[in-house]
């Protein structure tokens, strides 16, 4: 090392901050209940489209079947309508630079695409046709459900997926959020009539939101949406997930993966939601702990000890509850020490104050990356879709930035004590039980769960 202390006099100071203008959003609600948000933005000649439809499982008991059906529906909705087959639909979109992707998670269905500006009306017409007339042809649905089941089997062989699945199951118990991936056997039971029924009941305009961002005229774009989607009328209603439970999960769950050359450490707990006053302080506590490269966790277990490549922590929002999450994939031989250091850094966050420099760095990074991530059509569209889908106005972004700017060292420590202290977190490790159990037992009681043999 040539230097150990940074001589700040050598570093060019930052210039005057320039304002990051957030373009104004034009909001409308159509007579059918669809919320429409349109944002014109300078940049490339493209429009980004996001349609969010609430799609939570209505009950915990039905969550397995619902999740299986949702996973097939998100591909099968594109398989054809009364007027057009799957290929023609894809061609009609492609002509305007578009390709509709449909995804599902425990809260919603999301239709998204980019498109060339001249294609706005034709692409909205295709979208309307799918929303009101997806036909779910039986033989094509059969092919789709088989592919989905195969893809799930492949996904479940990935250690990261095994770890995420185990953590969700342990944290959420019988709540629908416990299901990260549907059971392939339930997927193989999904039939076309069930999808048509589910579509009719749940793919409805009330509670849904459409966001358009990019090279557009707001009133013309809003009119185009109204014209294309006014016929989307359905009698069902939106369903949201029930509140998440707070389960006591002491000790470490170890999911056995014989022969694994790494262990996947995962910790998770409750975090404040988007409207909770604790959120700004918790977001900054997360940053200082492990939310970015300049964090304590990265400095400790990567740059000092070389245990891992990309340790990280994050705050994740779902409709019925938000989460603080920690993850690190570490060499098998250092599994115990890596978990010890992770717990140590969590404890240090909870018990001792962060420095002003740490807080300032975390704050500037959080504000700066918010600005960067909304500085593209696609980034702004996805951000607004998530906010509007959570029932928040686009102005939330500005309010949240103001709140971040005001957070104090004391507030960060208070948030850390509440949300980052290890008793508040559920711990799961995926690894070779024969090699790592003894080391983990030195840190706490260990429950070994048999690893799932790939289905």
């Amino acid at each position: 090392m040539t230097t150990s202390e940074l001589d700040l006099s050598l570093v060019p100071p930052l210039g005057e901050p320039r304002t990051h203008p957030v373009p104004p959003a034009h909001e409308t609600t159509l007579p059918n209940g669809l919320q429409v948000v349109v944002v014109p933005r300078p940049g490339v000649p493209l429009i980004e489209l996001r349609l969010r439809v609430p799609f939570a499982a209505p009950t915990a008991r039905g969550a397995g079947v619902h999740t299986a059906r949702a996973s097939v529906l998100s591909g099968a909705v594109l398989l054809g309508t009364e007027q057009h087959d799957q290929t023609t639909i894809a061609e009609l979109l492609q002509e305007h630079g578009a390709e509709l992707s449909v995804s599902s998670d425990p809260d919603r269905l999301l239709f998204s695409t980019t498109l060339l500006p001249d294609g706005l009306s034709p692409v909205l017409d295709v979208l309307a046709e799918l929303l009101t007339g997806a036909s779910y042809p039986a033989d094509r649905v059969e092919g789709e459900r088989e592919r989905v089941a195969e893809r799930i089997a492949i996904a479940r062989s990935q250690p990261g997926v095994i770890a995420r699945t185990a953590l969700a199951a342990r944290r959420f118990g019988s709540h629908p959020y416990a299901i990260e991936l549907p059971d392939p056997d339930l997927v193989l039971d999904v039939r076309a009539p069930a999808l048509r029924r589910l579509h009719g009941e749940r793919v409805v305009p009330a509670g849904s939101s459409l966001v358009l961002v990019g090279d557009l005229d707001p009133s013309a774009a809003t009119a185009a949406v109204a014209e294309a989607l006014e016929g989307w009328i359905a009698t069902g209603h939106a369903v949201e997930a029930p509140p998440v439970p707070q389960l006591e999960t002491p000790g470490i769950e170890l999911v056995d993966r014989p022969g694994a050359v790494q262990s996947n450490l995962r910790l998770g707990g409750l975090a404040p939601g988007r409207t909770d006053r604790d959120l700004p302080a918790l977001r900054l506590a997360n940053m200082v702990f492990g939310g970015y490269f300049s964090s304590r966790l990265v400095e400790n277990i990567r740059e000092r000890r070389g245990y891992t490549y990309s340790p990280r922590s994050s705050v994740d929002h779902q409709a019925a509850g938000s989460s603080f999450l920690v993850e690190a994939d570490v060499a098998t031989g250092v599994t115990g020490p890596a978990l010890l250091e992770t717990w140590y850094e969590l404890g240090r966050m909870a018990l001792t104050a962060v420095t002003e420099a740490e807080l300032d760095g975390a704050r500037r990074y959080t504000l700066g990356t918010m600005a960067l991530s909304t500085a593209t059509h696609a980034g702004l569209a996805s951000t607004l879709s998530a906010l509007v889908g959570a029932g928040l106005p686009p102005e939330w972004l500005t309010d949240h930035q103001r709140a971040l700017a005001a957070v104090t060292v004391e507030e960060v420590q208070e948030a850390a004590r509440k949300y980052l202290a290890t008793p508040a977190l559920t711990t799961v490790v995926v690894g070779d039980a024969e090699k790592v159990t003894a080391a983990l037992e030195a840190l706490g009681p260990v429950v070994v769960a048999a690893g799932e043999t790939p289905a």
Partner: protein, 436 residues
């Protein structure tokens, strides 16, 4: 040229100059958002590694984040991130890049940091040992501890090519990584990280004259060093089909990859563009030829994709490179059946050609994807820099949409004729993960 292509070219004029020490500088001003991106691209990649030093270009990339003459370890990250910016680096086949995107007022700070490590990175024994450990964990997480980890990017080149440059593992063997020394790193830096072997590209909210002055101030004092010649990485066109089988003990289902040699991405650019669009036509979206045939009609594949260039970016590689088609298929479907279907579909294009309508749709989609990438200041800046270092012309990045829009059905048909089953490389992955 389509309207969108014309607009993209016009909106991003490129300014360039060269410092006395040989550093090539490209400025791409665009003041629509108050964000600036800085990229430094060194003309050395995985293909330049000597035998016995596999993985060294990537390991050295890690060393460039370990501090430099005036910047202690961890401070590079802190100074960028505390300015509200993001940073990273990546090692490619033919170059290694370092970049940051940050609020415009952080520009000079980013230039200071890049210049400081271009002049003198902190290559110490302690840092080297630490980063060898970190790289080994990176390889474990991305390759060794997961199914399909080396498929097909580390495995297919071994079947498709002959030379060490084109076939070796760019992530590196643990034996080579562990035996790396501080002297190796110092020599590598001295040889390949000369200012004359680099391109500095700055895009976004900047004033050209002011930025010119800042670049001169921070990078001007770095001493010139000899620039190594660019070693040719092209090789003989294949004259036979080659194949190999690999076993993956973690994979639950088999997979297949085909690789065809394609025209020189730089020297034969017009023919190459036909190949790039052919890959899109084969595999992009539900209307594509292979998605329809393999996935929806015959139902012999779970997923398929085709791309040109080892990492899927056709415009950031030199010769030799491949068009790769990869397919995940159910265990019950024999690989030969999938192969036959792929060759039939390519053969149909070679024999019957492509309709103008179909090609126009593919071009519209490709154009939208290029524009989307160009919407972010960082994405645009990286594309300009890659075009400068690989093609010698940053402007090319802004012209791609228009160049692709001008490709004719006949060019795509000609590209399909070159995807000959008799010169294809085939990699078969057998799942031995004990799936019942």
């Amino acid at each position: 040229m389509t309207a969108a292509g014309a607009e993209l070219t016009l909106r991003h004029p490129v300014e360039r100059f060269t410092l006395d020490n040989g550093l090539r500088v490209v400025l791409a001003p665009d003041r629509s958002v108050p964000v600036v991106a800085v990229g430094v691209f060194y003309d050395v990649g995985m293909r330049n590694e000597p035998e016995g030093r596999t993985g060294f270009a990537h390991l050295f990339e890690h060393m460039m984040f370990q501090g430099s003459a005036h910047v202690p370890k961890m401070e590079h990250a802190r100074l960028i991130q505390a300015a509200g910016g993001t940073f990273n680096g990546s090692t490619h086949q033919d170059y290694t890049n370092y970049y940051a995107a940050l609020p415009a007022e952080g520009l000079e700070r980013a230039l200071f940091l890049e210049a400081d490590r271009m002049a003198a990175p902190a290559i110490t024994e302690e840092n080297l040992r630490n980063q060898i450990d970190v790289v080994k964990e990176e390889i474990r997480v991305n390759v060794l501890n997961r199914p399909y980890g080396a498929f097909p990017w580390l495995q297919l080149p071994q079947v498709a090519f002959g030379s060490f440059a084109n076939t070796h593992d760019g992530y590196g063997s643990f034996v080579d990584l562990e035996s790396s020394t501080v002297d190796d790193a110092t020599d590598f830096f001295s040889r390949y990280y000369a200012p004359g072997n680099a391109v500095l590209c700055i895009g976004g909210d900047l004033d050209v004259a002011e930025t010119h002055r800042l670049v001169q101030r921070w990078f001007g004092p770095i001493e010139a060093r000899p620039v190594p010649p660019i070693p040719p990485t092209g090789e003989q066109w294949p004259t036979s089909s080659r194949s190999a089988v690999v076993e993956d003990a973690l994979a639950p289902a088999p997979a297949l990859a085909l690789g065809w040699r394609v025209p020189d991405p730089v020297g034969d650019f017009d023919r190459y563009l036909g190949t790039v669009l052919l890959a899109e036509l084969l595999s992009e979206g539900d209307a594509s030829r292979l998605e329809r045939r393999l996935v929806h009609d015959d139902r012999i594949a779970i997923a398929q994709s085709s791309y040109v260039g080892l990492f899927g970016d056709p415009f950031d590689v030199r010769d030799a490179t491949l068009l790769t088609t990869q397919i995940h298929h159910p265990a019950a479907v024999p690989p030969q059946q999938v192969l036959t279907a792929v060759h039939e579909e390519v053969g149909r294009i070679a024999t019957d050609g492509v309709g103008a309508d179909e090609l126009r749709r593919v071009q519209a989609r490709t154009e939208a994807q290029l524009l989307r990438q160009a919407d972010s200041v960082l994405g645009r800046t990286l594309a300009f820099a890659a075009a400068e270092i690989v093609h010698g012309r940053a402007e090319l990045a802004g012209e791609l949409a228009a160049r692709l829009a001008a490709v004719t059905p006949e060019q795509v048909r000609a590209a399909a004729r070159e995807l000959d089953p008799d010169t294809a490389a085939v990699l078969e992955l057998r799942a031995t993960g004990g799936r019942s």
